[in-house]
Amino acid sequence: MTKRTPLSDRDSADRMIKRVTRSVAVGATGVMALIVGWLGYTHKTTTSAAASTQSAASSSAATSASSSASVASRRLASATVTTSSSSTEAATTKAKQAAAAKATKAKAAQAKAAAAKAAAAKAAAAKAAAAQAAAASSSSSSSSVASSTGSTPVATSGGS
């Protein structure tokens, strides 16, 4: 014959079950929040490290904040964590490597394009400055010639 549990014991056991289950639920939620925070922190640090290495190549590439760039930075960050931390983390998947390489390649191409654009702009500016300087020198020489002969200078403002 089975022994029946007294009602008071049953109530106390029910209360204990509720209490412990609530504690487990709160603890599990806390652990999940901790993991989310930890992942966010590690992602932030690795992304900034990756961005600093990338900024040497180009500063404009790091400022893009589109969703595709965010996904690419996730992949890049994952790959960076893998390559920069311990040997257990060194073994990364092919997909991650491919994604990281793709992101790096895209950013390098972007940087190259930006650098070429900047160089072209610089060359154009230098050309314009040289033309301006040539024009100024010719006008100043003409004004100096005019003043030396005693006539009224005509184009003195052209040198400015």
């Binding site: 549990t5 056991a13 999940m32 989310v36 992942l39 966010g40 257990t88 983390e89």
Partner: protein, 189 residues
């Protein structure tokens, strides 16, 4: 901060997955303890079974969060069909498939438990035993795929889960052996 909020769903998916695995491990251990009729000192036996049931429901909640975030996150890109149909996911089809199988096993467990008064005990027990497969499938899914697959902290968590389930299985087998050892010898008449 904006980067964090953009990736928050992705982090939540990973966090809820790990917590689900830990809770599923606790469910398996408590299930073994229930079968072995273990209970805390000065507490009635039904306490273990009640804990088993309560933690099961809790793990289902976290599993739900994991599944919903897996669908919602654009990086994971898991289709709704791939959640229940194994090996049809666009990315990491095998590992996502193991997760889908585990999810199906848990789903079968929930449905059979809800229908428990209407179905034969033998069938319910068979489904329950089958549902124990959810744990190794979930473990393989956790360890085999994802961004945390090679990270030390996940390996530690997975190792602890394996140790807990392994210890409970060994304990159960030992108890069975002990019961056989303590059984009264058959005396020929």
């Amino acid at each position: 901060m904006s980067d964090f909020s953009a990736n928050a769903v992705w982090y939540l998916m990973r966090g809820s997955g790990v917590v689900s695995l830990v809770l599923l491990t606790a469910v398996v251990v408590l299930g073994v303890a229930t079968v072995r009729r273990w209970h805390p000192k000065r507490r009635p036996r039904f306490v273990t079974a009640s804990f088993h049931r309560a933690i099961s429901l809790l793990s289902v909640v976290f599993l739900g969060v994991h599944v919903v975030t897996a669908i919602a996150d654009p990086y994971a890109g898991v289709a709704v069909a791939a959640i229940v149909i194994p090996f049809v996911a666009a990315k990491s089809a095998f590992w996502v498939g193991l997760g889908a199988l585990s999810f199906d096993a848990v789903g079968a467990l929930i449905i059979s438990s809800l229908l428990r008064p209407r179905i034969p005990l033998r069938l319910w027990r068979a489904i329950h035993w089958f549902a124990y497969l959810a744990w190794p499938l979930a473990l393989a899914h956790s360890v085999g795929m994802g961004s945390d697959a090679r990270s030390l902290w996940l390996e530690v968590v997975a190792g602890a889960c394996v140790a807990a389930v392994g210890a409970s299985v060994v304990w159960r087998l030992n108890v069975e052996r002990g019961i056989k050892h303590l059984a009264p010898p058959v005396v020929p008449v």
